[in-house]
Amino acid sequence: MPPDLVYSRAIADDEGVDNDLKILRKENLLLGAELRLAQKGASYLLLDPIMKKIYLKNKGIIIREFDIERIRYWREKGLSIEPIPLLKKKTFFYQKRKEIRPQEPKKEIDVADVTDFLGVEDMPYRYTLLFEKGITISVTAKPNKGLIYQLIGTIDSISKHIHHSTILIWNHLWKKNFTIGDLVMNKEDAQALFWALQEGTFIVILEGVSA
């Protein structure tokens, strides 16, 4: 809601002021965080759980949007709206870079010679992103259609639920900050997100306020 309308409502109705203050405070935190990131030259992410979107931005403009099919998260206390750097991308299967072997002069590059270079289609669609402050986001591609895939997806979802709840309780007992987000995206978006992210990329999680 634009701040002008909030102000007008506040004059008319004092009961809404507390709520409006809260929303404005959060929005200002978001804008402050984004301003700090926009002043650097690197791209950054905004994760909006309400709109189910991830925005890749640079200098305040959206350069790519990723849709989230489903999002769940487990955390001990509310997240503060601040930039948090990505420490590591984890996945079971890593596509390795091709090593070029210096060789005899080539006549012409053939399409057949270029099939094994890294592309976004080689990226994993099931991976974990480890951020600072104990934040972990796991990304999974939406299961394919078909009863077997749906069943595997359901079992996977239940086991994650149990695992994350257990970890949450464990970290609570050891008084450690802990947040896990579980995102389900379509396969192409999951791969494209992995491709776009680099270690050191900052994320802002918009809990309680939509971009």
Partner: protein
């Protein structure tokens, strides 16, 4: 015997389900929001927050590009020439292969990635000549020439080039059938017609966002 097994299975099932419910309940209790006591709403707070909101938005807006800018999606190998939210041109490109080349005679190593982040057009060149770097000779198994004139190769970079720093260019290509693939040594290759449009509409200082 069968009756006893059935009883054991039932007890175990109830035990497991109960444990899971307790686990879920505890995890839920840990993660629910516990709001702080609401502060008394103050009209001066609201005014201050509204002013802060406007200021932050203005500062972010000042950082975003004015005029034409370029966005490069290295995952999908697409280049967008944009002005504000409007896309003036969408071009299929080729970007870095991600391959590694090691110098067999020494310790040098090259990784052929297109750099990510924010850049700007530093120079515009008509009829560019490629001055082949050392890796181009090593890759083809050729001797590195002592005379820099022997490094020059005409006609391989197309009609135009835009330099964006550290030896990286947006330029043309002879290998138009490989557009859309990750096959370059880091530069961004564009088809002739699209390159001409990009060249004519860009100027020194035009921003380039690469992800």
């Amino acid at each position: 015997m069968i009756g006893m097994i059935k009883r054991i299975v039932s007890i175990l099932s109830i035990g497991i389900i109960s444990s899971l419910l307790v686990l879920e309940g505890f995890a839920y209790y840990i993660s629910i929001d516990r709001p702080l006591a609401p502060a008394s709403p103050q009209r001066s707070d609201l005014n201050r927050l509204i002013t802060e909101n406007r200021t932050l938005k203005e500062k972010i807006s000042r950082l975003s590009p004015k005029g034409v800018y370029i966005v490069v999606n290295t995952g999908r190998n697409l280049l967008y020439l944009k002005k504000g939210d409007k896309t003036i041109l969408e071009a299929v490109i080729s970007s870095g292969s991600g391959s590694i080349l090691k110098d067999p005679n020494g310790e040098r190593e090259w990784v052929f990635d297109t750099p990510r982040g924010e850049f700007e057009v530093q120079r515009k060149i008509r009829g560019p000549t490629w001055i082949k770097p050392d890796w181009a000779f090593i890759e083809e198994g050729e001797e590195i020439p002592a005379n820099w004139r022997d490094r020059a190769e005409e006609g391989v970079l197309g009609d135009y080039a835009l330099a964006f720093g550290n030896g990286f260019f947006v330029h043309g290509t002879l290998y138009t059938r490989l557009l859309g693939r990750n096959i370059t040594h880091g530069c961004i290759r564009v088809g002739d017609k699209d390159l001409e449009t990009i060249y004519k509409l860009s100027k020194v200082g035009t921003r380039i966002f690469i992800f």
